[in-house]
């Protein structure tokens, strides 16, 4: 930042930005995040009041259960694992200008693959190998599920927004059908796959109940961020995403890169599903679809496709969803109120972005 400013001053005929505003500059990201959060909480309070619930009780319960109680915090951190992996996959795709909106289908089939493989190999192979293979198979399944949209986009110029969304519907149905018809666990009456014993799942961190999946998620998103920012491969993807004609002019193999982007993005989504299964659930129940992807997509955009910022937003989403689920049980507010709250936060954050940009433009001019 400082080097840019000095250059600006040296080259331009006017000194454009006053130095005394730098404090303001540093505070701005915090302001534009927390002010809208407060506004969103206020708006949600009104809704809560309207349905006869004490907003303060609700919020304190959400925060206590999502962040400040040991068990809540542990659940929140555990929940972050699949969300971070999804965010990592989405960042790759969006940076390369590809709208992979089918992460939920890729997630679910990745989960199914892990849910089938892990119990089958349990006791046959060493535990760490079972887990590794299951997560890898999840990733592979996710990638395979994106093959058709990837091919259509790369070689036939078919819009991937439509195809990936459609593949999600197919994927959810296929997953359900496979659970009910093929991979049903005969030992239970509920339609679900065989269960991986708790002690065979991803190890927990230290003396807590936090699944080590969150570490996988953190590593994935940081690696993705560094690859996109610091490597030639990441730059190639960004060039293709920014201007396809320029990519051709620069001699980049756009089609190949498109296929690779889909594969990586969908593999991370499939991995998210696998990690959620071998880390938390242990099996896959029919009709299970957490639809994390649709919640993570806006978070990734609010983070401006920045990996580190995405971690913060994913944490926020995690707290809200875990805390909200607890509060629903205790206070009788439907658990879908979490979605209402998240939606209001998104709207106010988006409005804040808009206001901030206008303000910035005015100040610069």
């Amino acid at each position: 930042m400082s080097s840019v400013d000095t250059e600006l001053d040296r080259v331009s005929r006017v000194s454009p930005v006053k130095a005394n505003l730098t404090l303001m500059d540093m505070c701005r990201p915090l302001l534009t995040t927390f002010v809208p959060l407060l506004v969103a909480l206020l708006i949600a309070s009104l809704i809560l009041l309207a349905v006869g619930v004490d907003p303060l009780a609700y919020y304190s319960y959400v925060v206590e259960r999502g962040l400040f109680s040991p068990s809540g915090l542990q659940q929140t951190l555990t929940r972050m694992a699949p969300l971070l992996l999804l965010a990592a996959g989405l960042i790759i795709a969006f940076r390369a200008g590809i709208w992979n909106l089918g992460v939920d289908g890729q997630f679910l089939l990745g989960a199914l693959a892990a849910a089938v493989l892990a119990p089958a190999l349990h006791g046959v192979l060493p535990g760490w190998m079972v887990l590794t293979l299951s997560i890898m198979l999840g990733a592979l399944t996710g990638a395979l599920w994106s093959l058709l949209p990837a091919y259509l986009r790369a070689y036939q110029q078919v819009n991937e927004i439509v195809t990936t969304l459609m593949m999600t519907f197919l994927g959810l149905s296929l997953g359900n059908a496979l659970v009910k018809l093929v991979f049903l666990d005969p030992a239970t009456t509920v339609p679900q796959t065989a269960t991986l014993p708790v002690d065979a799942r991803l190890p927990r961190l230290f003396e807590t109940t936090v699944s080590s999946g969150v570490l996988i998620g953190l590593v994935a998103i940081v690696v993705v961020h560094l690859v996109m920012q610091r490597t030639a491969f990441g730059l190639r993807l960004r060039v293709v995403g920014s201007n396809a004609a320029a990519a051709r002019h620069a001699g980049l193999p756009s089609r190949k890169l498109t296929m690779i982007v889909f594969a990586l993005s969908a593999a991370l989504a499939g991995m998210a599903g696998a990690v959620d299964i071998v880390g938390v659930h242990g099996n896959l129940r029919a009709d299970w679809n957490p639809a994390f992807g649709l919640l993570v997509i806006p978070m990734v955009f609010l983070a401006r496709l920045n990996g580190f910022a995405a971690i913060v937003f994913v944490l926020l989403l995690s707290i809200l969803s875990i805390g909200g689920e607890s509060a629903a049980r205790r206070l009788g507010v439907p658990s879908s109120f979490t979605l209402v709250l998240v939606a209001i936060v998104l709207l106010t954050l988006a409005v804040a972005e808009h206001v901030d940009q206008r303000w910035r433009r005015q100040r610069l001019s």
Binding site: E7, L8, P16, R230, T231, R238, S242, G251, L252, S365
Partner: protein, 531 residues
Amino acid sequence: MNVSIPAADPEVSRLPAAQAPVVSLRGVTKRFPGVVASDTIDLDIHPGEVHVLLGENGAGKSTLISMLAGLVQPDEGEILLDGEPVSLSSPKDAINAGIGTVFQHSMLVPTLSVTENLLLGDRWWRRPDRASLATRVAAIVEPLGISLRLDAPAADLSLGEQQQVEIVRALLRDSRLLILDESTSMLSPSGIEELGALMRRLVSRGLAVVFISHKLNEAAAFGDRISILRLGRKVGSIGPERFRALEQDVLVAEIIEHMFDDQERGTDASVAKRLPVDLSGEPLLVVRDVSLSATDTSPALRKLDLDAWPGEIVGIAGIDGNGQKQLAELLAGQRALEGGSIHLAGQRLDGLNVGERCELGLRYLTDDRLGEGTLGEFPVSLNFFIKQIGSSPYWQHGFVRGSDIDAEARRLVKEFDVRTPSIRTPVGRLSGGNIQKVVLGRELAEGARLVVFNKPTYGLDVKNIRTIQRRMMDAAASGIGLIVISTELDELLLLCHRIAVMVDGAIVGTVSNTGESVRHDIGRLMAGVTS
């Protein structure tokens, strides 16, 4: 509502300055990050006059227009409408104030018919009234001597016709001031003539016209009054009395004086230091029997042969769209060869991709500098390197070395005199001339042996044209071979040792650029007379 043009008054059109200005700018200033795009500009726009705003790229013409069209707001100063200050805070305000703008690129909806385009923007609750529109349009176009095909889809119209539709649209909205932004840049010579005549008829009916251009001859031919902009300032103006009194070439000379510093005149001579070529060695580039099948928009390439020696500048003349771009893309490796061979310094190139050819020293400077030549949102620094992503020393083991990139980018910015606030400025924010310097810097950087230039000075102002041409001469003098594709014959005559003429996908002849008859010979070749 009646015809929107005020009734013609012969007295008025002869003595335009007698009328009070419709719109005046008073000390208008607009700043953007790093530049003052408009610096305390005063301007009076009178009815019955074509007011030409002349200036090179980046002189601040577009900013001025954007302020009058309500797209951006001035930071200081005021805009007066009939002497009263107004605030034009949106395009709607501008339209209501009677200011109509025809932008450089068509603003019509291509899939809608002309009628539908003209009806757009009316109150949403009103039923579109096609019948009365037709009468109103007729009342407008008849006195102007133009005709509109009201039922044709806008996409089927020529660019000139589309412009006429936009002009009529502005008149339908009771515009008193019509702004034409670089309107001739997309037109054929006859289209330009027509537009000029139309402007004369419009002002003779009392309308005020602002005509933006960077072409001197158009300014002199169509204007009543000229204001010359340079680096955001108004550096000169010529009123109607002087305008009429001066001969056209005296006028042009006076305008040039305003537009450029003294030392910049006479650089023509310094550009034209063409060194003799040493033909004793092997040719650097050998193209034999190259062919390519036709597409919807381009002719087939038929058995092309082309040679270039080190230090030689070979021109390719021809009307646009005769396969020049396809040839350039074949050389660069952006298209696969369908027949024939290309050798660079003895090495066969077919099968090598863009990057590998770059590495060997074959560079291609595209004519589409914004569409494919650069990444608008990316910083200037990275745009120097997009053709060598991953190669050392700027990347090591796949990881970027930011400080090396920045250092080299700073050096190139300095060497090629790119005017940018910073190397981190998105390249799309620079003016056309500066973007071209970035592209030039990239293609001429270390290791260039043969550079294909496709319309290297297209759309640039005189000063940048000279800078770029000087760079090209310097490159040739240092032993680089140049292939220059251009539609400007003067440019080729200035730069080239030899000029090949391309017609309908074939090279119909090559002329050595010596002697008096070259221009004539090339003309004959283009017209289809074999040499």
